[in-house]
Symmetry: C2
Subunit: 364 residues, 2 copies
């Protein structure tokens, strides 16, 4: 088997993993391909917490043909009894001869122990094939496990000249229906959607996944609102919708009817007139949220940028020029010199209907 086809098999495993993207939370998405004599004899991916891991599905599909075969798995097989028995044992029991691993699992429950267990049982191990791709695919899970907080993705829709609305606030339909439908997919892959009370008061958003083509098994992302002074109205649309709403404020001394309306209300500290977003993200990490999608206005978006709390930007750029009597994308009062600007690595640019979607991560 050439190194080239190894890459192909791991690419296939990476692609399989994405099938769990809307349902595997809070678990990582994982794909597995079992190959015998250059032929794929089993495929698997992890669909949901409590269900079988990718390796188990692939082994079941392979049956006896797993004996002496090579397993390509995007993330290091587990060695501990969680909700399901350890995959390392299953691979050993099935007689797999070699396991090619995309990325070592930094989760302290695994962290090399899975690979070690396989090696001790005489299974040949190779680690790091397409690790970059797997790392990108697992940004959220890796962020939570290594930094204790979710991966934060900020979505914005703007014109080519960086405007999100007219100064009057008029802003409907800047981007096309394809971009809005793409946002549904961003939501569906996120454990939580985060916004500010300003956006809630202005737009009364639902933040739900409504596209019938996206199967989240009924799960809706947690709706998180930063609402320092608890101004959220009981009539807010999101309180009546399926899924949970979590409101972070800076004063819970007063009883709030929001709790009776079904919202969870948590008080955290305040910083410069904002709910402390770092505290919020740490709390969301403890709640096993891997990915947060921020859908906010320029004030909160700018505040998060100023504090380097955004990991990835997804910008839908409409082919329009809106001019100067407008509102810009980010309110960043502390950036006064050119040296304050943030540099990006563009990781993907593509057309989404008439709009251009730019995905970028911050340098350094």
């Amino acid at each position: 088997m050439s190194r080239e086809s190894d890459s192909d098999f791991m690419t296939q495993a990476v692609r399989l993993a994405t099938k769990g993207i809307y349902t595997a939370h809070p678990n990582p998405i994982v794909g597995c391909v079992i190959v015998r004599n250059g032929e794929v004899v089993g495929e698997g991916w992890h669909a949901a917490a409590g269900e079988a891991h990718a390796e188990i599905h692939a082994l079941e599909a392979a049956g006896d043909r797993a004996r002496g075969a090579t397993a390509f798995v995007t993330l290091e097989p587990c060695s501990h009894h969680g909700k399901t028995p350890p995959c390392a044992d299953a691979l050993i029991d099935a007689g797999v001869a070699e396991v090619v691993i995309g990325l070592e699992d930094p989760n302290p429950d695994v962290d090399g122990k899975g690979a070690k267990r396989l090696e001790e049982a005489g299974v040949k191990i190779r680690t790091g094939l397409l690790a970059d791709q797997v790392e990108r695919q697992l940004s959220g899970f890796l962020s939570r496990v290594t930094r204790g907080r979710p991966f934060v993705r900020l979505k914005m829709a703007s014109s080519i000249d960086g405007c999100i609305a007219m100064a009057s606030g008029e802003s409907q339909w800047i981007t096309g229906p394809e971009a809005r439908s793409d946002v549904q997919r961003l939501r569906a892959r996120s454990g939580a959607v985060l916004s500010g009370i300003g956006t809630v008061l202005a737009d009364d958003p639902s933040f739900t996944v409504r596209d019938p083509n996206i199967d989240t098994r009924g799960r809706q992302p947690l709706r998180v609102v930063l609402d320092r002074k608890l101004r959220m109205p009981l009539s807010a649309e999101m309180l009546a919708l399926p899924g949970q709403t979590l409101v972070y404020c800076c004063d819970d001394s007063k009883e709030t009817p929001l709790r009776d309306a079904g919202a969870e209300v948590v008080a955290v500290d305040e910083v410069n007139g904002f709910v402390n977003a770092q505290t919020v993200l740490d709390d969301l990490g403890r709640r096993e949220i891997n990915d947060v999608l921020v859908e906010a206005g320029p004030v909160l978006a700018g505040h998060l940028l100023e504090n380097d709390l955004i990991d990835e930007l997804v910008i839908y750029q409409a082919p329009h020029i809106m001019g100067s009597e407008t509102i810009g994308m980010f309110r960043t009062p502390s950036w006064t010199a050119l040296a304050d600007r943030r540099l990006l690595d563009i990781i993907d640019t593509r057309q989404v209907g008439p709009d251009t979607r730019i995905t970028a991560r911050f340098k350094g």
Copy 2:
């Protein structure tokens, strides 16, 4: 010969035409390929006014093999004695059997007469092959001939959030060296570079083509400055550089030392506190300028946009976020509703070093 290879030959002619892009002014760039039995026997392009046209070069290369051959020429061959004898006659004399024309020449001196002359001599004519490509390639020439004014291309460098400078004016090096070198090519293909007195006072630009890899045969684009009150200092860099400087003002009652410094100074009418740009463009058309590159700040750029005087935008977008304490791309005080925004057709997007170059034309 299949239709498919006809397209290939015309594509080759279009590509040949671009070889004259820096030198053919004010003539249109034209390419010609002569094909006999499916084989290219002659190529030509128009290099400079007063020199042979594309067809003549191609016929010379083909020699006797032109007899019975097909000529693919991007623009209708001329039928009039200009600085050189008519190409239609040369094609007839050489015994060419068929002429495939990309675009009819709307120039009143030609305007179907070239094709007619060929037809009357028994040459088979086909018109309109890849006409869109030729039309785009000849935007400047066609604009001047049909609208009496040049094609206006506005170049801007901005961050992804649409900023061109900090509010303090700090703006150096937003885009990379590759983008700056690309701007040299935009300048070199333009008959004139147009700016406002604000940019001249702030940046003292040269607007010259300095890249030794670009051969303009020594020609520099005409430098055009809109300077309503004749504030241009005699120390302005551009006055000392090779090439001509043309200053449009709204009051030439006073003698100006700018004329002694070598600038041409022309008074035109004023509109809303600006030099009337429409008058300026009409005058540049009379001066046989096909393409104008606008390199201006947000005030003049916005004013031209508000008056729908820009035909094409070329935006170099740096992968930076600059935030709110900044200056936007276009100052457009008259656009107050979302309906005022301008819609674009993106015609090209590509990486230029670390930056993204977006080329767009206005819809409608």
